[in-house]
Symmetry: none
Subunit: 193 residues, 4 copies
């Protein structure tokens, strides 16, 4: 992605994008608090003040990342709302969700590993709302408490699996399929009364 090499003159007018890219990279690695604006600016080869030309606050950079990168999740939710509550739909929800996560992997890794931070930030509610909605789509009509746990676990396992199985041996694509399989299994189980 990006031209990859020379940084001084580089692109024209893509600074905003580059701020987002580098910020995402850094907070996924180090967390939000430990990533300073100085560090972001240094990596970009600009001044801290330049960041403030493009974003109003530090948190605003993160918010913009969320808005840009979680749009697919919102679309997924919108789509799901119009579908019949069949297992096929639920299966597709999981699949799509997996794809969205892989596409925005660093952001999801950040969310997974910095839940305390996310909770305190302005995006916290959004995140929780979406999770609740998604679980609701997966639930059977007469869900028992255990069924709720199953569907919740399905989502959680996808999140955690994506980022904590990195050090396990095996082809990533294969691992992804295995995770999806288990998640689907959990949702299916929830429907077998």
């Amino acid at each position: 992605m990006s031209t990859g090499s020379s940084h001084k003159p580089g692109r024209r007018g893509d600074t905003r994008q580059r701020i987002q890219d580098i910020t995402l990279e850094l907070i996924a690695e180090q967390g939000y608090e430990k990533t300073s604006l100085r560090e972001i600016a240094e990596r970009l080869g600009v001044t801290k003040a330049a960041l403030y030309y493009h974003f109003k606050t530090k948190e605003d950079i993160l918010v913009s990342l969320f808005q840009d990168l979680t749009a697919p999740i919102d679309e997924l939710i919108e789509w799901a709302a119009e579908q019949p509550h069949t297992m096929a739909t639920k299966q597709e929800i999981l699949t799509r969700y997996g794809t969205a996560m892989v596409d925005a992997a660093p952001l999801f890794r950040f969310m997974q590993e910095n839940q305390a931070t996310v909770r305190e930030l302005s995006i916290g509610n959004n995140v929780k709302d979406r999770a609740t909605k998604l679980v609701d789509f997966l639930l059977p009509e007469d869900a028992s408490l255990a069924d709720r746990v199953r569907c919740f676990s399905a989502l959680i396992s996808m999140h955690a699996g994506m980022f904590m199985l990195k050090e396990t041996e095996g082809d990533p694509e294969e691992k992804r399929r295995a995770i999806l399989e288990v998640a689907t299994e959990l949702v299916t189980r929830a429907h077998e009364h």
Copy 2:
């Protein structure tokens, strides 16, 4: 047998203990970075400098909490190493693990919500090691990739479930049972080839 630094309670010197208690309370609520020594000291009614009489650094407080509160997990691992690899054993591992988590709930909540921080701290490896060992105990002998995911999910779901189902309605004890049920189910599934 004391761990070298001569700091066992010593009867009537419970400040050390109180530092740990308040620190745990605060980091579970706010995270590690956002909890300052000033805040801890203020809540205790002592000076920041007093903290340094009892602990070498801020991180040291956290480390001591880990050592004190995760001992049951280590014992569980030791115990498990001597048991036969039967489903009954595995079932008991999950049960005991659940109990240990509830007993040290704030610490586990902290670990769940601040994975990035934990990873960077000196305790990070410990945590990962223990998780790996526990998953290994749960695995069947001829585990497929999906089986690994199942056993991993079992543990993860227990963690996440304990702290994210707080706002779901229902009796806590009942919820705990449901979580355990699903976790057991996942491990069982892993053995049904």
Copy 3:
């Protein structure tokens, strides 16, 4: 005949004027230091850089306001210099001064409330000079120290009165007359040896 820098209104280029208006409004409310160019630009709906097309520096905006709004005071001084030193003249000086103040109320309020700032700025000397000259016009020939104080008080009271009696009840016009009355009284007293 334009003053060199080509910046007379020129019909349909009222931005310069609007910058002055908004700046005056803001510094009268908040003071000079606490009014930023960003704020001025935002209120105008232009960029900060646009301000620099019309004025060389922040201070320059203030200077221009002074030059435009205190012209009547200069004219008053010129006029007074040609009048006989009678009480009637002095009475009229006070009256006219009051009118000038009301006409440029925000600027005078700013001067009253930000004396430290005005003193440090390039306009500081102007202000002091004018005050001295005006007091001199009001003084009797054989003025005692107390007489100087009386005439000085007359002017000061007009300034302070105009802006600090705002929260007192009563018709503004009436208050103005009362202030003028007291000022005149002070000058008269100074002449009663």
Copy 4:
């Protein structure tokens, strides 16, 4: 005042006092906004952080100065409240007020020259309250609008006189007497119906 010379080891435990002294000196000269904590710290030979050991914020330093230095004014108000409303009392109010101002001259100079700043700060209301109370003590019972202006002018003239007549020639003590004379005259006039 103070030992005057060597600054490095100097006093023990008087840092708080020295912060107040230097801050007062600087804000009287330059104003509040233009006086930075860096400057204060440098003059003291300590770090900015040291200031924060003694005061919670920049504004807090100013507040502490107010509390310490305007106590005599509060006492004056308390005293006045118990006196009969005679001209002798009023005369003494003015005299005492003048003394209090001279004793805390730099602070009063700051207040006189930075009214906009004072107004916005937490001390603003205090200042206004006190002024109102003092004027009320000076007023005759059946005060006309002009009488209010006279008493108000009396106070204002004392303030302004003290700091703006600095460059006029003459013995300071003599000037002070002249100012008091005019102020008394104004209050007297207010009672001559």
